[in-house]
Amino acid sequence: MTASTRSRWLIGSSVAAVVVVVLVLAYVLGESRKPGGFGGLQLVYIALGVLIPLFVYVFGVGPLSALDGAPAAEADAVTPESLEPATVAPAVAGAAAEKETAAGAETKS
């Protein structure tokens, strides 16, 4: 199991646990109230109405959207070391040296 898969499972199971707790709480709270207000099922519906779009937002647009290959803090995660050696351009110093060598060769020729 890769680290990415493990983190997905971890996040998924935490989210599922939170959802279950919130729904049970909503139901119990709704049922324990005096008649006239929202019932348990109505509160469960409202809780789901908040949670479902929230998850779509958090995983599709917000902070955890990078898990799905999308943006957010992706730029911070990229470091020179994380790039494949073949695709890394020469460092500034190296680039400057290369430039000088090329200029020298041109002058000689």
């Binding site: 099922l41 109505q42 908040v50 779009p53 599709g60 943006p71 460092a91």
Partner: protein, 293 residues
């Protein structure tokens, strides 16, 4: 057959009206949070890292005895896609790039520009889905009830499928597309377009903060008006969950939840889809041999 066609037309009209609402809400959220400038900065960072192997903040070179930091003080919120050009990067990074890097610069910039547009469009589609679900679930707009009411209630069906009303909605949708295409390209992403022209409205404007605040306030007001207009026009299949006189059992909860989820998914497909479908259905109806007049 005709009843079914009119029901489909009425349903499509309701979905189109709802799509406007979701589009409006998505636009409000997007302009509040300004995702585009974050993506733009992220792509520029990656481009610089790839080309020079250094972070954006560390890029510097000496020119005329002075140290020059080309990316210092850039306000990304004021920039749009037009910033990502090979000429701009040649001007900013020129002294640091080798001849081979300069040759590859144009292709690299194009790759990052494509990625910027792709990721932004995808993120906006997800945002549109989240807004659609939030709106339909919290206001409790149930596609099942809407369909059933339109199918069973001839008067309601006649109202929504009436040719003049359909023509007015189609015209409104056409106007909205024109506005999106010319004045506010940032707003059409909610409809699920390719997003290539998507930039924040303030990205290319040189306006002040107060102007963008005013624009946001206007968008919020527009959303509020559209919501009011929608709930007064479509008063069936909306908000049943909040009606204390209607008993709600587990079956009712499931029906409302699934119906609202389905509506949220359907409206986030986008206004252009519903607009095209409605136009096609309207044409089919006018070609129908046994058409009522």
């Amino acid at each position: 057959m005709f009843t079914l066609l009119e029901t489909i037309i009425g349903f499509t009209v309701v979905m189109l009206l709802l799509s406007f609402l979701v589009k409006s809400l998505t636009s409000v959220v997007k302009n509040h949070l300004d995702y585009y400038s974050g993506h733009l900065e992220s792509e520029v960072r990656k481009l610089v890292l790839r080309m020079l192997g250094t972070k954006l903040e560390d890029v510097e070179f000496r020119s005329g005895g002075k140290t020059f930091r080309p990316f210092d003080g850039i306000d990304w919120k004021r920039l749009g896609e037009e910033f990502l050009t090979a000429d701009n990067f040649k001007a900013l990074l020129g002294p640091l790039l080798t001849a081979s890097q300069l040759d590859a610069l144009k292709a690299q910039v194009e790759i990052h520009k494509g990625k910027l547009n792709y990721i932004f469009a995808r993120r906006m589609k997800n945002l549109s889905l989240a807004c659609g679900l939030a709106l339909c679930l919290l206001v409790n707009i149930n596609a099942f009830t809407i369909w059933q009411t339109l199918y069973e209630d001839g008067q309601t069906r006649a109202k929504f499928a009436e040719p003049d009303y359909v023509a007015a909605v189609l015209e409104r949708a056409g106007d909205a597309e024109d506005v999106d295409g010319t004045e506010a390209p940032a707003e059409d992403d909610a409809a699920g377009d390719d997003g290539s022209a998507d930039q924040p409205a303030d990205g290319e404007a040189d306006g002040e903060g107060s102007e963008s605040e005013a624009a946001l306030a206007k968008e919020r007001e527009m959303f509020r008006k559209e919501l009011e207009s929608f709930t007064s026009d479509v008063d069936f299949g909306v908000g049943r969950i909040y009606d204390e006189t209607v008993p709600l059992g587990p079956g009712g909860l499931l029906n409302e939840l699934l119906g609202s989820l389905l509506t949220g998914v359907l409206v986030s497909i986008g206004a252009p889809y519903w607009h095209d479908l409605l136009r096609t259905l309207n044409r089919v109806r006018s070609d129908e041999p046994g058409r009522r007049t």
